[in-house]
Structure formats: structure tokens, C-alpha cells
Symmetry: C2
Subunit: 112 residues, 2 copies
DNA sequence: TTTAGTACTTTGTATTGCATAGTACAAAAT
DNA sequence: ATTTTGTACTATGCAATACAAAGTACTAAA
């Protein structure tokens, strides 16, 4: 029984919501996203983030453009599409429902 | 982009915590657990629950005993082991941390 | 020119929720 | 007595995604 694995499993499905949320606040590129997640105590690694961004792009929730960097290779800046904004709202709803359901499940005192 | 799939993905890793929590309140068998989850708006199916219960038993977080039923086949009643109680506390902590992290990620207003 | 740092891509693995098929037991129906 | 129905559990294959690791590409510094 590995608590770190439980953490990773709990993260599944939630990162999508978090990442769309970060991008909804303005154009960012991958390292920005990793930094923001880190700030929020949510550690995500490249092997997760890049494929996830690609999936979101393929699902047409994101669009991107290449922008030259001042001090290194070019960067891919992402924005939400119209569809992306819509799905973000749905994911927010879904997450809130899940939080309520877990709360209810774990604090219920009578089985009835 | 399928919101139902997002729901299922979000559930991954969380069910463990919910199920241990339900069992912590007293001996129950599988259908009891499904009912309680349903009451809490968390739908889980047999194909998920049974293997999960088996995993938890194999990890020594649960023990069980067969009890004859009044009106059907015998039932497997589960209880938490000492280890199970300990892990439940850790999962509770882990979940709360995750909820905080998501909240922080999705409501942060300045990138800094 | 080579090295180091940054950014992105690809692929394979492990894990788990779901769908489905099947077995087993007991009570009800035939 | 036998068959059907309802309940309970087992097993297996699939889909999806977080993570680890290997690799490519670009730019600035050494």
C-alpha cells in the first residue's frame, strides 16, 4: 500500500480541469503551467503534461502559437478555444459534484 | 470530449478512500457499499467494487467473514484492519490536500 | 565548435474504473 | 422434484491517464 501511488491515482482526471483553468487566465506555455501547479502543491511532470496538452489540443479545447523566446528555444503558447471555455465550466461542475459526493460519503453518520 | 469519461477518470484513486470510510463505520457487504455510494451520488459498479475490495483485502487493509443470508446466498462482510484504519487516515489527509491544491489552482488570480 | 540549459515529442509501463461473461447459492415458481 | 429468478461474488479484457525515461531541437554560453 503506497500512499504516493494513491496520490497519483487521485490526480487522474483532475489535471485536465486544473490545466484548462490555468490557461483560461491567459496565454501560457508548458513551463509556466508546471510552475503554477507547483505553487499550488500539485506536482506534475513533463511526461504527463505534454501528452495532456496534446490531447486537449486534439480535442479542440486549446489552440496554440509558437513564440520565439528571448533566451532559448521557441515556446508553444496555449489559449482556450470557445469549446475549451465551455468544457472548463462543465469540468468545474463535475469536480464540485465529486467533492460533495466524497464529503457525503465520508462524513455520513447513519447508514439508514 | 466526453464529460462522463471525465467523471470516471476523476473517480480513479478516490474510491479507495470512500470505500474504506464506509467500512470504517461498521461491517458491511458489497451491496451495502454500493447502496451507500449511490446515496452519495457516487455510482460504482460491481466490476469496479469487487476487484477493489479484493485489492484492499490483499493489501491487508480489510478482513472479511462469510455470513449466511436470510434470503439468498451467503455474504462477505468486511471490516477494517488496524492497518486499514491507519491508511484511511492517510487517505483522508491526501484527499484534503488534493482538494486544497485544486482550489488553489483554479481560483488563483495572479500568476506572479 | 562544443556544452549546457530550455522546450517539446515519443513511447512504454503501471494502475484502476467500467463492461461483460460467468459461477454459485437460496428462495420462489412451475 | 425441477426450473426459474434474484442475489452475491469472481474473472477478464479494454480504455484512459499519470509517470518514467529516452530522444530531438533550438539558443546562448563556454
Amino acid at each position: 500500500m503506497n500512499i504516493e501511488n494513491s496520490k497519483a491515482q487521485m490526480k487522474k482526471g483532475i489535471l485536465e480541469y486544473c490545466i484548462l483553468s490555468i490557461i483560461s487566465r491567459g496565454e501560457v506555455y508548458a513551463s509556466d503551467i508546471i510552475d503554477e501547479l507547483k505553487n499550488s502543491k500539485m506536482i506534475v511532470v513533463e511526461g504527463t503534461l505534454y501528452p495532456l496538452l496534446t490531447r486537449l489540443k486534439n480535442d479542440e479545447l486549446l489552440s496554440y502559437q509558437w513564440i520565439e523566446s528571448k533566451s532559448g528555444p521557441p515556446r508553444k503558447y496555449f489559449q482556450l478555444t470557445k469549446e475549451g471555455k465551455k468544457i472548463l465550466k462543465e469540468l468545474e461542475e463535475t469536480w464540485n459534484e465529486l467533492v460533495q459526493a466524497v464529503k457525503y460519503t465520508t462524513t455520513q453518520s447513519n447508514k439508514k
